[in-house]
């Protein structure tokens, strides 16, 4: 690095750019350090939060587990931990359908748990009841987890006998609430001051020392993360220090600063939305992509590399007609999108052509009534149509029976589940295309048609050569937009057919949702699905818009 800085081209370059904007050395160094330190601080904070949560979790779960073990051996619970025994759910004597549990604090007697005799002072009873129920559903003989209410409590359960769990009392331990360690402000401020001093000292000595000082100053910020054993964060901070030092060397920070000050007004106007997007969209997006490389099971994440993607793209070893095979779902999704777009466009354009006649009586009223489906919230539309396709009471079967046909047992085969989905979405989506087409039709100058008529063009020829070319520029983007909406149309599929029968009418977005929330919290799998869906849509947008543009140019 030292050798490089002495080479003539770098010198020349430096002389050129500094002659334009002469920034004092120290000010420049501190400016760059501030940027690097802000990023490093962000990383350190994230690392700190992660580390302290892990520690809290480890401490609390151990406390809970040790108490549960103590209870099983009939020893008192550890201090600050509440230990109880919960009986299996036994049928009530009066109403055998009802099942009751009983609870026994370590130092008191059995009493009923929950039910009508619920005592408002026993506020944790529900937690014990639910924990016992969850525990019975697990195959393991012990269970420990953090409460999900943010109180920092852990709950552990352990069977008091080795026989079948259903007949066995459960020892349950619930720790007191605990908050994680406070943020170490003093350490952070101290480290920041030290780092800034080192960077400034470097700058005062000379060029090469300035860059070394920059790196050393930022590296100081990595020290606390090393003490927390947060090695990834420490490495990231060191990389940032090196990157800033290197950026200084090739004048990148100066150029960046000049660019910033030139566009200060514009950039400060963009900043609020930009920062919000960074926090709310970019960070979750990046986390979502990372999650795709992990497997999530019962609260623990395991790195599995590209296994999720391999499982998705290989169909998971399932045959191609299996409803969980990615390619099957992709096929359904594409078919779903195609059917809907074709129906939306043809119905929308047909209605627009009908409505475009200025002499129609009550034209405004017709138009208003025809866009009604667009005005209704789409979850209500979906539920409404689900009701109409109800086998017993639904309107469709009533109509079929009224004309003497048999009712259809909806949602029992692929076709009679897919059709209601498409019908619902068609009803929901044609008004958009109709409005777009109507707008485009109104821009066609009447003279064109008159000239064509004079030249003897048939009405089909006029439609083909005047109407269609005028519709295309408006319908192109509308189709691109509509296809993405339909591809992602979660509500209709989820609420109308709900994937029935047996997942076969799911589209990609609903299947991804089911992996996350309905098939044992397989978050990693769901995130990988999300990434794949995003890539498909990105490809479609890039190539789709290119195709639309090319057609428009012709």
């Amino acid at each position: 690095m030292i050798g490089e800085s002495a080479t003539p081209p770098a010198r020349v370059n430096r002389a050129d750019s500094t002659s334009g904007t002469r920034v004092p050395v120290l000010q420049r160094q501190l400016r760059d350090f501030a940027v690097a330190a802000a990023i490093a601080l962000l990383i350190a904070t994230v690392a700190f939060v992660a580390v302290r949560n892990t520690e809290l979790r480890a401490r609390q779960t151990e406390l809970a587990m040790r108490t549960a073990e103590a209870l099983v051996d009939w020893r008192p619970p550890l201090p600050t931990v509440r230990g109880v025994f919960v009986s299996p759910a036994l049928p009530s004597k009066k109403h055998p359908m009802l099942r009751h549990r009983r609870i026994h604090d370590y130092d008191s007697a059995w009493r009923p748990l929950g039910g009508l005799s619920m005592d408002p002072t026993h506020t944790d009873d529900k937690l014990f009841y639910d924990a016992a129920t969850r525990f019975e559903q697990l195959p393991a003989l012990e269970m420990v987890e953090m409460m999900r209410d943010g109180s920092g409590r852990a709950i552990a359960a352990k069977a008091t006998c080795t026989g079948p769990k259903k007949n066995c009392n459960v020892a349950i331990a619930l720790t007191s609430p605990a908050s994680p360690a406070p943020f170490p402000w003093l350490v952070i401020i101290g480290v920041l001051g030290l780092g800034a001093a080192i960077a400034a000292a470097g700058a005062l000595i000379g060029n090469t020392a300035a860059r070394a000082g920059m790196f050393a100053g930022v590296a100081v910020l990595a020290v606390p993360t090393m003490l927390w054993h947060a090695w990834i964060a420490a490495t990231a901070i060191l990389v940032i220090g090196a990157a800033v030092a290197l950026a200084q060397r090739i004048q990148l920070t100066d150029r960046f600063a000049t660019g910033l000050s030139k566009n200060r007004a514009a950039l400060s106007f963009v900043a609020p939305a930009g920062a919000a997007m960074l926090v709310l969209v970019a960070v979750p997006f990046a986390i979502g992509i990372f999650m795709g490389f992990y497997d999530h099971h019962a609260g623990t994440w395991t790195f599995v590399g590209i296994d999720n993607f391999v499982e998705i793209l290989s169909g998971g070893g399932r045959p191609l007609d299996d409803a969980l095979n990615f390619w099957f779902i992709l096929g359904v999704t594409v078919l779903w999108t195609l059917c809907n777009i074709v129906l939306h466009v043809s119905i929308g354009v047909a209605l627009a052509l009908l409505l475009s006649r200025k002499w129609i009586a009550g034209r405004g009223i017709f138009r208003m009534l025809l866009i009604l489906p667009w005005a209704i919230p789409n979850y209500i539309t979906a539920l409404m149509w689900k009701g109409m396709f109800n086998g017993q009471y639904g309107a469709f079967n009533s109509i079929l029976r009224a004309v003497g046909l048999d009712g259809v047992d909806w949602f029992t085969s692929w076709a009679n589940s897919f059709a209601p989905n498409v019908a619902t979405n068609t009803w929901l989506g044609f008004p958009f295309m109709m409005i777009v087409a109507l707008g485009a039709l109104e821009t066609i100058p009447r003279e064109l048609y008159e000239a064509a008529s004079v030249d003897g063009a048939s009405s089909w020829q006029r439609f083909r050569h005047i109407t269609l070319p005028h519709l295309r520029p408006a319908l192109g983007p509308a189709v691109a937009l509509g296809s993405i909406w339909t591809f992602n149309m979660f509500n209709v599929i989820y609420l109308v057919s709900a994937g029935k029968p047996g997942n076969s009418t799911n589209i990609l977005v609903t299947d991804a949702y089911r992996w996350a929330f309905e098939r044992g919290e397989r978050y990693g799998m769901a995130a990988a699905y999300g990434t794949v869906i995003f890539l498909i849509l990105l490809l479609w947008t890039v190539f789709g818009t290119r195709m639309v543009r090319r057609k428009g140019d012709e």
Partner: protein, 298 residues
């Protein structure tokens, strides 16, 4: 079919004595009336159900109820939760809070950015515009899952504030695009004059642009309000506590897997949709322009 449509599209006002023309006119009106009837049928069924006794749809396909009742509305407004609170009002209030906060966050954070993207040329402008557009095309599940995990870690699951954050992820890009579209239509002469008089960018924005853009701001705000008001899947995933539900979750749960009360659903659907539908009809002509303008330029 196309042939006839195309001729109709260009026909000058037809002469009534021409019997062929007269037949066409009648045919078109009949066709339109039929189509409107088909489109309106499901809506009428729901309205009928809202005023008809019983939990299930009646077996007749007619959209006119035999008996009228307001029981479903009484049930809807009278239902009480675990703490004796009136559930519908609670959920309506939740919906209102979430939708209003989302709107405020969306419009306030995006109005300056939209102005800058409309008026200034600066490095990163094109990339920014593309990002704001692409983000609107994300499938809901793509961000839902990471946000769920993050909010879980932050203890913001099951809180209205968390839901506002989630809705802002779609509201901000939407607001930026529609507002930018509106700012593009405003004339620049006033700003140039003010700049010559020595006004700063911020002053121009505050004193000239914002007052001029009031209609655009109103429309954008109303649309982001409606989007949040109508959102279902995020709310039902993130909210587990009945007192934190929003209206869509309430309405969906009234026709859940095990106990479907279509009367209650219909009453809820009518009450929730009417304000949104009114807003929609007032604003719909702005929506198409905004959406397709964004798509064409992207």
């Amino acid at each position: 079919m196309n042939r006839r449509l195309a001729r109709g599209a260009i026909a000058p006002r037809p002469r009534i004595h021409d019997t062929g023309r007269l037949a066409t006119i009648i045919a078109i009106h009949v066709a339109l009336i039929l189509l409107v009837a088909i489109v309106l049928y499901p809506v009428l069924l729901v309205c009928k159900k809202a005023f008809e006794p019983g939990r299930h749809f009646a077996l007749s396909a007619s959209p006119i109820p035999d008996h009228l009742t307001t029981d479903h509305f009484k049930d809807l407004f009278g239902a009480r939760g675990g703490h004796g609170e009136l559930l519908f009002l609670r959920h309506a209030l939740n919906s209102l809070i979430v939708a209003l906060s989302t709107t405020v966050v969306g419009v306030v954070l995006s109005c300056t950015a939209a102005y800058a993207l409309s008026r200034f040329r600066f490095p990163g402008r094109h990339a920014g515009l593309t990002t704001f557009l692409v983000v609107q095309m994300f499938p809901a599940t793509l961000l839902l899952l990471p946000l769920y995990v993050i909010l879980d870690k932050l203890g913001l699951l099951n809180s209205l504030a968390g839901l506002v954050l989630v809705y802002s992820t779609t509201a901000i890009p939407f607001c930026v695009w529609t507002l930018k579209g509106y700012f593009d239509t405003l004339p620049r002469e006033l700003e140039e004059a003010a700049r010559i008089d020595g006004a700063s960018t911020w002053m121009i924005f505050r004193k000239i642009i914002l007052p001029l853009a009031r209609p655009g701001l109103a429309v954008t705000a109303l649309f982001s309000f409606m989007t949040a008001w109508n959102e279902f899947i995020m709310a039902s995933t993130f909210m587990t506590d009945e007192s934190k539900y929003t209206l869509p979750v309430l309405i969906q749960s009234s026709v859940g897997q095990f106990s479907a009360d279509w009367g209650l659903f219909a009453a809820g659907a009518v009450v929730t949709s009417i304000p949104v539908m009114i807003a929609f009809y007032v604003l719909q002509k702005y929506l198409v322009g905004g959406l397709t303008a964004g798509a064409v330029k992207g």
